[in-house]
């Protein structure tokens, strides 16, 4: 009786929100299971190493390029937006703060989401639709430990390092524009940068990056793991992984920023 009433009630509410709630349930369960299995042996160090290399090393060019141009553009925008007076120190500090706090973590994460989130969803999705995940289970290997835990660990650990690298390149981009385009004194630019450098900014950026790494890997694995229906399903999973990861990154970025900087 109750079930029936509830059924009609939910039906009138419409199917889309219902599907969302059901998926939210699955998703929560999936995340809990993933996190739990991240701490359970066996640990597949070789697979972790492969993911670490794949996410970290091969993302260096893309992260370097994005942060380089971000730093350069911020230098020009800041300069054009302020009076000549004191420009030298303002440009250096704005580049420093915006790169370390926001641009390096967020842009790197979005780039890695496109590169790695998609690859994870495609790889795990293909394993799902070709029954390789079932095969893992029948061979007594837990897919959460074999496939998902190494990816999550690698992403969480490698993202902050990538962002540190992005920080350096981004600041260097600002320096290039400052010195070669705006004719600042190179030594002064460096001194100004050093004066404004705060370890909390850099560490905050790296903490954000760790969170983003978690989001990227979990979204990639989740959509891959739940994909069905052959090549088309895998394609959808790939798109969904990138889109949801990107949105969650931006939301998480706001929340973390508010938590730590809005005083």
């Amino acid at each position: 009786m109750l079930k029936k009433t509830l059924g009609t009630f939910l039906q009138t509410l419409g199917k889309a929100p219902l599907a969302f709630i059901i998926n939210l349930g699955y998703f929560t369960q999936f995340v809990a299971k993933s996190v739990y299995n991240c701490f359970m042996p066996p640990f597949y160090f070789r697979l972790f190493g492969m993911q670490f290399l794949n996410i970290g090393f091969y993302s260096l060019p893309v992260v370097g390029l994005t942060t380089l141009f971000a730093g350069m553009v911020i230098a020009i925008q800041t300069y054009s937006g302020i009076s000549e007076y004191g420009a030298e120190s303002v440009v250096a500090s704005v580049v420093l703060i915006s790169v370390t706090r926001e641009l390096a973590p967020v842009l790197s994460a979005l780039m890695v989401a496109g590169r790695i989130g998609a690859a994870m969803a495609a790889e795990i999705g293909t394993m799902r639709v070709t029954e390789q995940i079932d095969a893992l289970i029948t061979l007594s290997a837990n897919p959460f430990r074999y496939l998902i835990a190494p990816r999550i660990w690698a992403a969480i650990i490698v993202m902050p390092l990538l962002v540190l690298f992005g920080d350096i390149i981004g600041i260097f981009g600002g320096y290039l524009v400052g010195v070669y385009k705006l004719d600042f004194n190179p030594a002064n630019y460096i001194t100004n940068t050093m004066d404004f450098m705060k370890s909390t900014d850099i560490i905050m950026g790296m903490v954000k990056a760790g969170v983003f790494g978690f989001i990227i890997s979990v979204m990639g694995c989740y959509h891959g793991y739940r994909s069905k229906g052959g090549a088309q399903g895998v394609g959808e999973a790939t798109t969904n992984a990138v889109v949801t990861a990107s949105i969650l990154i931006l939301i998480a970025n706001y929340l973390i920023t508010e938590l730590f900087f809005a005083r």
């Binding site: 066996p42 790889e123 293909t126 394993m127 070709t130 029954e131 390789q132 079932d134 095969a135 893992l136 289970i137 029948t138 061979l139 007594s140 290997a141």
Partner: protein, 250 residues
């Protein structure tokens, strides 16, 4: 021989509104080769996935060696091997790493020993040692099935499942696989459950045949009994006739 290795009672499984298994009762005796036949989409794969715990049934009981599978804390997978419909080889690993997946993963065997063992089992299924270092994508469908078989039997399982081992193969390769299934099962003394709609294969490897239709086992018996049966559903299926009581939903 009379002992039941697998005992299934009143098994139900639905996906949303689609009822796939609708009260399946089935016993597989220790050491026998049971073949389940049935049309495409009747739930044959779902049935063996339920037995292996890859899918959770809605209700019903599955016992292996008299123990309820959902309740036991032991790892039921150690007793079982499975050859998947599409072989399901890991494409990120080489052929020998696929075959030696379990021994390698347990870490009880050195890499070198595991490879030697993998090559030995590959030879058993008729593959040359130089296949060992290839990647699964470089193999033909028939070779992939053999590698899948090697991966399933390397652990010497007590129960082996074969999901359509001969589909997609030419008749000669299909027969080679049939022989391999018979040999490897006999060699291990294993109980086997095979799913197929290839009647030639079913006749060759089965001790008993069961037919799945509309979510139930509607007939079970030996090959000889099957040939003489007057069950119209069974007759239509084994003669491959479009006319009869089985309506094909198009």
């Amino acid at each position: 021989m009379a002992e039941n290795k697998i005992e299934i009672r009143n098994l139900y499984k639905a996906f949303g509104k689609k009822k796939v298994l609708n009260g399946v009762d089935l016993d597989v005796k220790k050491g026998e080769s049971l073949v389940v036949i049935g049309g495409s989409g009747t739930g044959k794969s779902v049935l063996i996935k339920c037995i292996q715990g890859l899918l959770i049934p809605d209700s019903g009981s599955i016992k292996i060696d008299g123990v309820e599978t959902v309740e036991t804390s032991e790892n039921i997978h150690e007793k079982m091997g499975m050859l998947f419909q599409g072989a399901a080889l890991f494409d990120s690993l080489s052929v020998w790493e696929n075959v030696a997946f379990v021994p390698l993963g347990k870490g009880k065997m050195s890499k070198k020993d595991a490879k030697t063992e993998a090559i030995r089992v590959l030879r058993q299924v008729g593959l040359a040692p130089d296949v060992a270092d290839l990647s699964p994508a470089e193999l033909s469908g028939g070779m992939q099935k053999r590698v899948g078989l090697a991966r399933a039997i390397i652990t010497k399982p007590e129960i082996i499942f074969f999901d359509e081992p001969t589909t997609g193969l030419d008749p000669i390769m299909a027969d080679v696989i049939n022989d391999l299934i018979i040999e490897s099962a006999r060699g291990l003394g294993a109980t086997t459950l095979t799913i197929t709609h290839d009647m030639a294969s079913a006749r060759k490897i089965a001790d008993r045949i069961a037919m799945l239709y509309h979510g139930k086992i509607i007939w079970i018996g030996t090959v000889k009994e099957m040939e003489n049966s007057d069950n119209p559903y069974l007759q239509q299926f084994i003669t491959g006739n479009a006319q009869g009581p089985i309506q094909v939903e198009v």
